[in-house]
């Protein structure tokens, strides 16, 4: 079998599977977190909007933050996908790269899930409290930022990991 792909111990045939799994994990878990954050805080906004429609603009902040979680996942997925190539293009995809991309995807995906979960709960309760007491707003935004930063840490780790493939 004249294969263009050099199948050695360092570049086994299943290595791309791990990289693909990394892409899928980043996108799937990140979107799960973003969806939970959007839905849960959306319920809170629907509850607040019926009583104080003038507050809706400010109450949308957790929804915007949930969107950012999905953007992080998207960025890492695109980053990993650019390093992947079909075997016919002559690229040898090493097992190291496969595991590394899996780590990238899992770190950004699962921290995104955690951050989205946090944003959803804080967004729901926060906007309801903000309706009754306007001073809650600063605290709510601060807590949301700290929840969102969890996803940012995952992104930073993924970006740093991704630089190791060029060695």
């Amino acid at each position: 079998m004249a294969s263009t792909m050099a199948d050695s111990e360092l570049t086994p045939k299943f290595a791309p599977f791990l990289g693909m799994a990394g892409i899928a994990a980043a996108m799937v878990f990140g979107s799960m977190g973003a969806a939970y954050g959007t839905a849960k805080s959306g319920i809170g906004i629907a509850g607040v909007g019926t009583f104080r429609p003038d507050l809706i603009m400010k109450c949308l902040i957790p929804v915007v933050m949930s969107g950012i979680i999905a953007v992080y996942a998207l960025v890492v997925s695109v980053l990993i996908a650019q390093d992947l190539g079909p075997p016919s293009s002559g690229t040898n995809y090493s097992l190291f790269n496969g595991f590394m991309h899996l780590a990238c995807g899992l770190s950004v995906g699962l921290t995104g899930l955690a951050a989205g979960y946090c944003i959803g709960i804080v967004g729901d309760k926060g906007v309801r409290s903000y309706m009754l007491q306007s001073r809650v707003f600063v605290g709510m935004v601060l807590i949301l930022i700290f929840g969102e930063v969890l996803g940012l840490y995952g992104l930073i780790v993924a970006l740093i990991l991704n630089t190791k493939s060029k060695g």
Binding site: M57, L60, V64, M65, G67, I68, V71, V141
Partner: protein, 113 residues
């Protein structure tokens, strides 16, 4: 025996004046101002499109031109752009709240005078 209506003195339905007749509001303008002002909708749409296009667009715009293939910096830039949109949204929301309060206080001043 029932009393008879004097038909000749009564106005027919066509002769009745609409203004005071069956529909008193017919002459007035109804309030058709939309519940959500256009400015707010435009603002929200702008932020939505910025959130969709700006991060990933900045990634692809800079990865080969400014960062010369270094996708790490381009990815970091995309994350930064997403956060810039968020900060812009928070500032816009705060401003809107303040403008609402200013309007209210101005209205109250007018009432006081």
């Amino acid at each position: 025996m029932a009393t008879r209506r004097i038909v000749s003195q009564e106005k027919s339905l066509l002769e009745k004046d609409d203004r005071i007749g069956s529909s008193p509001a017919a002459n007035e303008k109804s309030n058709i101002t939309p519940a959500v002002p256009t400015a707010v909708i435009v603002k929200l749409l702008a932020f939505t499109f910025a959130m969709i296009i700006l991060p990933i667009g900045s990634y692809f715009a800079t990865v080969d031109t400014i960062f010369k293939g270094n996708s790490t910096f381009a990815g970091a830039l995309a994350a930064v752009m997403a956060n810039v949109v968020l900060i812009g949204y928070v500032i816009a929301a705060m401003k809107e709240d303040q403008s609402d309060q200013l309007e209210e206080s101005a209205r109250e001043k007018k009432k006081g005078l």
